[in-house]
């Protein structure tokens, strides 16, 4: 029996390895697990047999090759619920055939081919359920490519390793190469002789049949039909034909293993060194293909078979005796399977390895890959840490709270566009009659106090209109009918009103008590302009002189500013009290310094601009830019000019096409408001600093003489030659912003009042 076994195995080997040596090496990386579960196992197969070398380097190759790979489980359960609790196998085959590497990458779903990787790195779905996964993975071509490259590198490295190890063991060969054909011929002849003898004894007609059946065919060929039917049987019984092969080859290894070594070595050489002469002259693949008229005999063509041949080099057979013992019934004729597609092999291997896996896993504990999976799936290793949180529901904000950070993310609604879209009423909010109003461009007959009282001078009397209550009071009336009032100015605090008259006197009135506090005479001509700076009242006269009055002291006239040659019609202290701007009928704009404490005579002129071509009545300081002064010229000039008082340069200028009688900065929307006389007789709102027109307020039938902003900055009041005062509510703020502003206003008041007393 032993002799027969030896002869058989030797013949088998000769029929496969010697005339037609291995032409392909198949390396498979398989990973499988149940979707939804976190357990993932992986394995490397070399020509269909588990590669279980304990070599550290080989292990590292396995790790490298399977590191980036994914199973459907890794993409989360939610995208493909249909996959849940089914077994998924990912199998990547790397086939080295001659100098070429071939690739297959497949995902099997409960044994059926689910997805395959096309050459262009996209996936092909073979089942309708696979479409979801295909789409998911197709989006991630980069990942697929990296995986492939990794696997390729790993395979090449693995092959090198194998080659090296084989070379190492090569010197152990006992049978020289040249002996093989001789031996084969001898045995072949011997067998023929024996068979002829037997057949002669039994009277058989076909002498060659015995050998043929011995060598090529399994006893029960029908049972081994490796088509779909056989496949299903394999699944059911969890037993396949494959385990027989290793055992059978194991015999070869024991008996004639040296030859197998030899064959493999030369194969590897021929693979990796193409320039080497092919000593045992295997037929080229195309040659063999051409001559493959008889498939069963040209067994070298089947990849499965070639795999078997090279298996003899693997040390696995000796390590898997258990498998063999479990399948004695199928052992008999299972030496060779003529056609075996690789799919079956995958499944077979998978099922086999899976069966044995739990035992290994329990013995060895969680593998490296399992840990890696766990980390990638959970973000941490379950073994290393536990996650704690305080008992109870997660905290959340009180009911009804809406995240208002949306403001931060809104796009396109820049402040500028908000202002443009703001509604500006083209009709006045209110119209007050102003009978007997002097229609004189050079006078300043309107002022609005911080206590929300509008003062207007009508010929020789001053009327107060309480904007909050709507009450009208007559504050004072000049004694002489021929005198008239030329200018009005409230103190910052709003309790005192300075009144300039045509007789050159400046009167100071306590509004609350309706009582004249003092009358200050210093000018020789009418006082057309007044401006307060704390306790200093500056007055501009028709003579061109500007006088500073210290209202606290008896000798009130503390200094005289001489620069203008004609009537001073515009006079404004800057909000910070550092500069006084004056404009005159001589087309000059002058800048004066703060009054020195102790009144050191006449102050020095800081700057004088002569750019305007007309009388400068309109002057306005920018409340949010302390160095910026705006001035507007009369009929012959019609320009708004913006000055930098520090450098003296003109920042910008604009031709308004109309006489400018008043300018005011409206801080709510950072706009500049101008009042116009001839020719438009209207009010214009300009964006600052771009000076683009925002709106026009039309309604006055005569030239607008004065314009003043309400203390809450929401309204402008205009007085015009048509003897009306119109209130335009053009700058109303959102209620929220308004409150903030009001707070600001309150905080700044109070100081002046004290200083006046």
């Amino acid at each position: 029996m032993y002799l027969r076994g030896f002869v058989l195995s030797l013949c088998f080997h000769l029929s496969q390895a010697v005339p037609l040596p291995v032409d392909a090496i198949i390396i498979q990386i398989q990973q499988w697990g149940e979707v939804g579960a976190q357990h993932v196992a992986s394995k490397v197969l070399l020509n269909g047999v588990t590669f279980t070398s304990s070599d550290q380097q080989v292990n590292s190759i396995i790790r490298t090759m399977s590191a980036g790979a994914r199973l459907p489980a890794s993409v989360g359960v939610s995208p493909i619920p249909a996959l849940k609790e089914h077994t998924i196998l990912r199998s990547r085959d790397c086939i080295l055939e001659g100098p070429q590497l071939h690739w297959t990458d497949r995902v099997l779903y409960d044994g059926e081919v689910y997805l395959t990787l096309a050459p262009n790195d996209t996936w092909t779905a073979h089942l309708p359920q696979a479409m979801a996964l295909k789409q998911l993975w197709d989006q991630d071509v980069e990942h697929t490519r990296t995986e492939k490259t990794l696997l390729q590198k790993g395979c090449v490295q693995l092959m090198r390793e194998l080659r090296l190890s084989e070379e190492h063991s090569a010197p152990g060969n006992l049978l020289p190469r040249f002996l093989i054909p001789i031996l084969a011929v001898v045995i072949y002849a011997g067998l023929i002789a024996v068979s002829i003898l037997i057949s002669k004894n039994k009277g058989s007609v076909l002498p060659g049949g015995v050998i043929g059946s011995v060598i090529h065919y399994p006893k029960d060929m029908k049972g081994m039909e490796p088509e779909r039917k056989g496949n299903e049987e394999d699944y059911g019984g969890k037993r396949v034909i494959l385990p027989c092969v290793p055992r059978f080859l194991g015999e070869i290894y024991e008996n004639g293993g040296t030859m197998a070594h030899f064959g493999f070595e030369s194969d590897i050489h021929s693979i990796l060194k193409l320039d080497m002469p092919i000593t045992n002259a295997p037929m080229a693949r195309w040659q063999r293909k051409a001559s493959s008229s008889n498939p069963p005999t040209v067994s070298g063509l089947s990849p499965g078979k070639s795999a078997n041949a090279s298996l003899s080099s693997s040390k696995t057979p000796s390590k898997t005796p258990g498998k063999n013992k479990k399948t004695p019934s199928k052992m008999g004729g299972d030496r060779f399977i003529p056609i075996r597609n690789s799919k079956q092999m995958d499944v077979a291997n998978f099922l086999l390895t899976k069966e044995n896996e739990p035992v290994d896993a329990n013995a060895a504990g969680p593998s490296e890959s399992q840990k890696a999976w766990s980390v990638s799936l959970n973000g941490y290793n379950i073994e290393d840490a536990k996650i704690l949180h305080l008992t109870g529901k997660p905290l959340n904000a009180p009911e009804g709270y809406q995240n208002n950070l949306k403001v931060l993310y809104s796009q396109g609604t820049t402040p500028a566009s908000v202002k443009k879209t703001r509604y500006i009423s083209s009709t006045p909010d209110r119209i007050l009659d102003a009978p007997d109003l002097r229609n004189d461009f050079y006078l300043n007959l309107l002022d609005w106090s911080s206590r929300n009282v509008l003062a207007v001078a009508l010929h020789n009397s001053v009327y107060l209109w309480d904007a909050t209550q709507g009450d009208i009071t007559l504050l004072m009336k000049l004694e002489r009918e021929e005198d008239y009032i030329c200018s009005l100015s409230w103190t910052k605090e709003g309790s005192y009103l300075a009144v300039g008259a045509s007789d050159g006197k400046v009167q100071l009135w306590d509004v609350e008590n309706q009582k004249r506090l003092r009358s200050m005479a210093s000018h020789t001509a009418r006082v057309g302009s007044l401006s307060w700076n704390d306790h200093i009242l500056s007055s501009g006269s028709r003579s061109g002189h500007i006088h500073h009055h210290d209202v606290r002291v008896a000798d009130h006239h503390i200094s005289t500013l001489i620069a203008h040659s004609q009537e001073v019609c515009g006079l404004k202290w800057s909000p910070d009290g550092r500069y006084l701007a004056s404009g005159g009928n001589d087309n000059l704009v002058c800048l004066w310094p703060r009054v020195q404490e102790g009144g050191a005579g006449d102050s020095q002129l800081i700057r004088c601009w002569s750019e305007h071509q007309g009388a400068v009545k309109a002057l306005a300081w920018c409340p949010w830019q302390p160095n910026v002064l705006a001035s507007g010229g009369g009929t012959s000039d019609r320009h708004i000019r913006i000055w930098n008082v520090n450098s003296g340069s003109c920042i910008s200028s604009l031709d308004t096409q109309s006489q400018i009688s008043s300018l005011v900065f409206a801080p709510n929307y950072k706009e500049l408001v101008s009042a116009h006389g001839y020719a438009h007789n209207n009010v214009a709102i300009w964006k600052y600093p771009s000076l683009t027109k925002v709106a026009e307020l039309n309604g006055h039938e005569d030239r607008v003489l004065n314009l003043i902003l309400s203390p809450d900055f929401s309204t402008v009041a205009t007085v015009a030659g048509d003897e009306t005062i119109r209130l335009w509510k053009s700058f109303e703020m959102d209620p929220v912003k308004k409150k903030a502003k009001e707070r600001l206003v309150k905080s700044t008041s109070g100081v002046i009042h004290q200083s006046i007393r």
Binding site: G76, S78, K386, I387, L388, K393, L395, A397, Y401, L408
Partner: protein, 202 residues
């Protein structure tokens, strides 16, 4: 401060890190609008003004977490602190602020001090909190009402204290990650990272 001169001990380090978490969590809740801004009050810490909550419920919650965390920091048994922001309606995880804590266990005796001044550490902490503030510019808007939870990753063998329970990691499905600055007290090292749900438009 005498500690400025002497360097830092384990106890001081635990205090500092716990303090950072207290301010950091408050900053996130404020900056991300999880809680209404009017329930926060301004305080000055690390030479910058920060917002601290005045909501009584939230305050007690944070105090209990941070004080427990301090103990764990002192024991060097804590690995991570994660602030998870979930959608209140769907319970979907929208944002995940992860603070990895690396603990130098070689200095647990509490006496040995390291050469790093409190000021330097606070400077580092300040830049981390500044970055948290700056994340508002790129993190997607949390449009739905949100809840938050604090997860603490501890060593496996830790005895779970009363009122605490184990939880899942609450990972975001399909997330973008942004690493923030880290700081170290030379005993504890804290790496910060924020992960947020990838929006469909990207």
């Amino acid at each position: 401060m005498t500690s400025t001169l002497k360097g830092i001990t384990l106890k001081g380090s635990a205090e500092l890190v716990a303090e950072f978490f207290s301010f950091g969590i408050n900053s996130i809740l404020y900056q991300r609008g999880i809680y209404p801004p009017e329930t926060f009050t301004r305080v000055t810490q690390y030479n910058m003004s920060l917002q601290l909550t005045t909501d009584a419920k939230l305050k007690t919650y944070l105090t209990s977490v941070v004080s427990q965390l301090k103990e764990w920091l002192f024991d060097c048994t804590v690995q991570k602190l994660v602030l998870v922001i979930t959608c209140l309606e769907t319970n979907e995880v929208l944002e995940r602020w992860q603070f990895d804590i690396e603990c130098d266990k070689s200095a647990p005796d509490g006496r040995a001090s390291r050469e790093k001044s409190v000021k330097t550490i606070q400077d580092e902490i300040r830049s981390v909190i500044r970055q948290i503030t700056a994340t508002v510019t790129f993190l997607p808007l949390l449009e739905t009402p949100c809840a938050f939870d604090l997860l603490v990753y501890t060593d496996k063998d830790l005895v779970v204290p009363e009122k605490w329970e184990e939880s899942g990691p609450q990972i975001i499905d399909q997330s973008e990650e942004v690493r923030l600055r880290s700081f170290t007290t030379s005993i504890h090292k804290v790496n910060s990272m924020v992960a947020y749900k990838r929006t469909d438009s990207v």
